[in-house]
Subunit: 386 residues, 4 copies
């Protein structure tokens, strides 16, 4: 019986990392996880620097993820980490995930899953074989009102779904930041670290995942147009995709990093025969529910009338806003609840296992590859292939 905090090791997240700090806050928040070790950088002194700043025991701060996984796997059961959180650039996703699972550790992995679809499919096999628990941190499906939206669609309240709009507008890459020393800009625009896609991989996958999650539908064919707006950039910084889903729904996905002045307002709208739902990160505690012939309703996080999936993922009463870090923390908490339940021979609740899986990861990588293929093609729609 596990009745304790789960012990986490981190791979990546050293100096200059944005997402590492986010993962740590998300893991800390609910008091269910303890960071016990890390390989924060491939440069040992940087790893040590971060480890010290996090008050880790020096003996648990490693110079490489390989060292960490190997050494941790040999520690006593009541000491060693339970899972790793991997927050490196995309080209360092697959190997540490695989190695960790093969050494008995569960894995939380930042999105997109891998460097390529082939890697994602391979990773799925590893997961299936090792039976380890895997969580992919597509943040936005951790928001309670996104879960509420999904549930209302699932319950048929909107009727058959007909139309889906999803967009993720950013402006931070309006200039060629990658030519300076902007670490985030650098790796995200570098094919060697990011893979074959820039914007559409970085944030387009979030939009894609959100659209499929809320609608409960799957994209079946696409027509994509990727652009490079900033001269000299190597990967797309802007794109739009026409979508065809199963069950006759259609949609549009827009992702851009050159909409100067935009922050991170990912937004999804799903319309059925009877009404529609609209959610955007800028007002994340609200869900607009629109009806054909009745007043729009504004569902709010923390209220008493929400589905169990929304309620389970809230911490504050209505009107005390939660946000991005809490959405992130929801994935960690649900991952931990699931890991612990399974370890204790219990069946995790449906609300707990509702975190992004390798299936999401595979579809996300397929999205990237299909979009890039479509964008290069003169043909309008191409089938979404995995």
């Amino acid at each position: 019986m596990i009745k304790r905090k789960l012990r986490m090791g981190m791979i990546g997240g050293g100096p200059g990392s944005f997402i590492g700090a986010i993962h740590r806050i998300a893991a800390n928040m609910d008091g269910e996880i303890e960071l016990v070790c890390g390989a924060f950088s491939s440069q040992a002194e940087k790893s040590a620097e971060t480890g010290a700043a996090l008050y880790l025991d020096k003996s648990r701060v490693y110079g490489s993820y390989k060292e960490m996984i190997e050494k941790e796997s040999k520690l006593p059961d009541n000491v060693k980490m339970d899972f790793v959180s991997i927050v490196t650039p995309n080209h360092v996703h697959f190997e540490p995930s695989k190695m960790a699972m093969e050494h008995g550790f569960h894995v939380v992995l930042d999105k997109p899953a891998t460097f390529s679809l082939a890697e994602a499919l391979e990773l799925k096999k590893v997961i299936d074989r090792t039976k380890k628990i895997f969580c992919l941190t597509h943040t936005y499906t951790g928001y309670p009102m996104v879960k509420q939206a999904r549930q209302m669609v699932k319950d048929g309240l909107l009727g058959e779904i007909r139309k889906i709009y999803v967009e993720y507008p950013q402006g931070w890459l309006s200039n060629a930041l990658e030519k300076g020393d902007h670490k985030q800009a650098h790796w995200r625009t570098d094919p060697k670290q990011s893979g074959i896609a820039g914007c559409i991989g970085d944030i387009g996958t979030h939009a894609f995942n959100l659209a499929e999650y809320v609608s409960g539908l799957q994209v079946q064919s696409i027509c994509a147009d990727l652009n490079i707006a900033v001269p000299g950039r190597k990967l797309d910084d802007d794109g739009a995709v026409l979508l065809r889903f199963n069950k006759n729904a259609t949609g549009v996905l827009m992702a851009t990093q050159i909409a100067a002045g935009e922050e991170n307002n990912i937004k999804v709208r799903v319309y059925g025969e009877k009404g529609g739902v609209e959610w955007q990160q800028a007002d994340n505690n609200s869900l607009l529910v629109k009806w054909l012939d009745q007043p729009m309703q504004v569902y709010r996080a923390g209220t008493g009338y929400l589905s169990s999936f929304a309620s389970h993922n809230s911490r504050t009463p209505a009107g005390h806003p939660e946000g991005y870090l809490e959405a992130f923390a929801n994935h960690y908490r649900n991952f931990v609840l699931t890991v612990r339940a399974l370890a204790n021979g219990e069946t995790p609740k449906p609300e707990w296992v509702d975190f992004p899986s390798i299936q999401d990861g595979v579809r996300g990588m397929a999205f990237i590859e299909n979009v890039v293929r479509s964008s290069a093609s003169d043909k309008k729609f191409i089938p979404f292939e995995i």
Copy 2:
């Protein structure tokens, strides 16, 4: 010297018409126009009914537009109408416009310009030949904050334009209203009255016009996907178009009439290298101006810091909201100011001639035909041809 209200005759706008009443309010509002005659319906008694409700002299209420144009043209100069306002379904746009101009009358015409691109091109020739003043009522470019947006783009405040999103979501055709006695639904879904397009012609053209107006750019190639979401409907009720503009800008246009719960929130976003502007009808008195590294600004109608194009088209101090009817009225007022100036041998101000022209009409009809052609094609992008 014309120093009096201009005299207007109306074609269409009888019982059950939505847009006829809108045009009359728009024409009334500023006290510059007097409705003196009308052929409100092709059924004489309906025309008479409307004429009576509008307190018109019976002798000036006609049973057909032909009768009206002929008879009015023979009235004394100090009595006869100065211009006609044509608010009929699309298939009755070209003939009355042509006839009116050939009989010496200026024309205000509801959009889209005509039933087909060929008609629009023909109409342009009539206008060029008769030298009559022609106004096409693409309402949304009449909003002061839309004009402000255009001016800021034109002044180069955003740098080179890179990205344009424009959308017009409606939900009113979510059900097959045209199978009942809903007059609006009926003609708008009927190819004989609307032409080859439904949604994309009815509201897609508004979105297209708004995007070109604000950005100052022109669409050069498109990739369109039109849908019929409601079974049995004869024309598209939903569509999306990927856009490529001159000067390397790209964009997305979305128009739908089956987004259940949506009203009429047409919205445009234009981004340049340095910032972006965002305008939507639901908050029509505001213009969001976003900057790469500075706080967003909210420009407001009726304030002292606006361009002359915005100020000229406002009637109230900031915070006393104007709306759709005033935007509509701006076109009428500018049309009248232009007609009167030219009649008096004066040069109309740039702010006055800033109403939609036959060029807008031709491009709008070309948009419809190109979109329909693209939607039927397997090829991704096709050139925008006129």
Copy 3:
């Protein structure tokens, strides 16, 4: 039987007037009123200038309201004006209203009713005696969603009303504009033209009227605190009032003209046992309806589910925003519908007679005098006396 436009004469509204132009647009909009004459200024040449700009027959443009009323009253019935619209500063409200009614003309009067409560009470007697129709243009109760709010309260949907917040924040008098040649600032801060109150009379009365209209309650005692924030100003430019209504409701009224950066966002919130309604001018086509344990609803102008009082006062489909001028026009239209119905021996509908009356005017003037008295008192609450 009157089956024609009603003929309007205007008193005030000459060069530099803000509200005169507003009244004319409001009167024009629906094609039910014809401006036939005016005494636009006490200076004859200014009156003539305005008359010419409005295309009036010179013979119907007068040098004083006395001249106008006298001469018009002697014109033939099928020529002379039916009613006057009085848009002068407050000290020129009572006399022309009285004279007009005594000469057989109905009256539309800008708010506040008069220069003093005594005048308002006297005016009420004139109205009662002459049986003329009188409309006071408290604009904000002309908004359809304000009428919807009132109706929902009246229907008991919120339960017993407990709390009312109303506010009218402006910033335009943050500087001593009256020391320059700002006509609006000048008369509104001049006790000889405005009366004993500045801000609380100019906009506080609007807030007061809106609160009583929506809640259906009446203020019974008040505790007021008026301020002069700008040194040297002669009348209050800021104030707050604690309110006690009948039926145990309480409230707060805030009015200010020195909230720098504020426009005209008058806002009212009314809460009952079960829920609350919130309306503000900045989003005038929406009414927020909040419920204790259910999602908030957003009622929208132009939809099918509204009360007849809201629907009757709309001109456009949902999502095509109306605004301030339409709210203003609603009072004119309802006034005209009532005048015509009564002239024709018909009973006007409840929706038609729903425009502000002399009762509103008397209560508004009483509000001013009670507030000024309370503000000067050391006592906390004083009874609201008429």
Copy 4:
């Protein structure tokens, strides 16, 4: 040199507590604090239950705060807690705070400071005497955009401050929940646990604190009106206060718990000669900055143009919303940074010591007592006395 997480003990926060869980999340979030012990309830088994749920060592879960403070004070320096977090109802604030400090522990205390002003003044003496660090968790001043507002006022950007509106509307006590088993409702409406005030103590103090914090001004006299809207309730559930600040500013404070349908949208508006700032919890990552003759600006959390006080208190890039828990966590983090700096003989940065102090606590308790006194008085304004 302290280079480790600080060790926290908690008093209160057992089963049914709302605020205890909030404090724990806030303390966890940044990885700077470790919860090591607790006296979560005055009932030992309930305390044990909570301790177990939090994975605490049984030996550090105590049956009373007295036991905890005594026993912890005797533990070795490298084991014992560094500070206590006190989250009990108001009547159990003073004693444990005093005892903790007298035993050498720093204190984080939930607001309002104490049961009475006398206690607060006494507590201040204890703090002055023991030199312990004390933090009062007035959550809302922990928001980065509130800090930005304060800084802009302080920098004189708005000119002299003239007007302050602050409001805290809630609806959750619209019914007599305290008659059921609603723990929160029970103690908050019970004079024995809450003190002499209900609503005005619970949330009015937050509003008061926020107004003084942002404006940098101090209330000097007040005119209050407290109400009990729900029959049978023992303490006020609604109130409004007219405020007079130093430097001639005036204001209005509104706090209510019976505005049915309202959540927790505390909002403050501060206006100076040149402009105003507006912040509300519902949109906590934005600060509206309004200017007399320029477009409103929307300052956003996480951007590069903010003051150091705002930036220091952000964790995410612009557009990834933070919220209530992060605001709360900011107080904890700043408290810890200050404690650690002082322990290490360093001078804490101005940004670190910017958390609510006992001065805020004393003023808050004075606010409660002055408001209750004013509300009971027939006199309009009374001086704000401490």
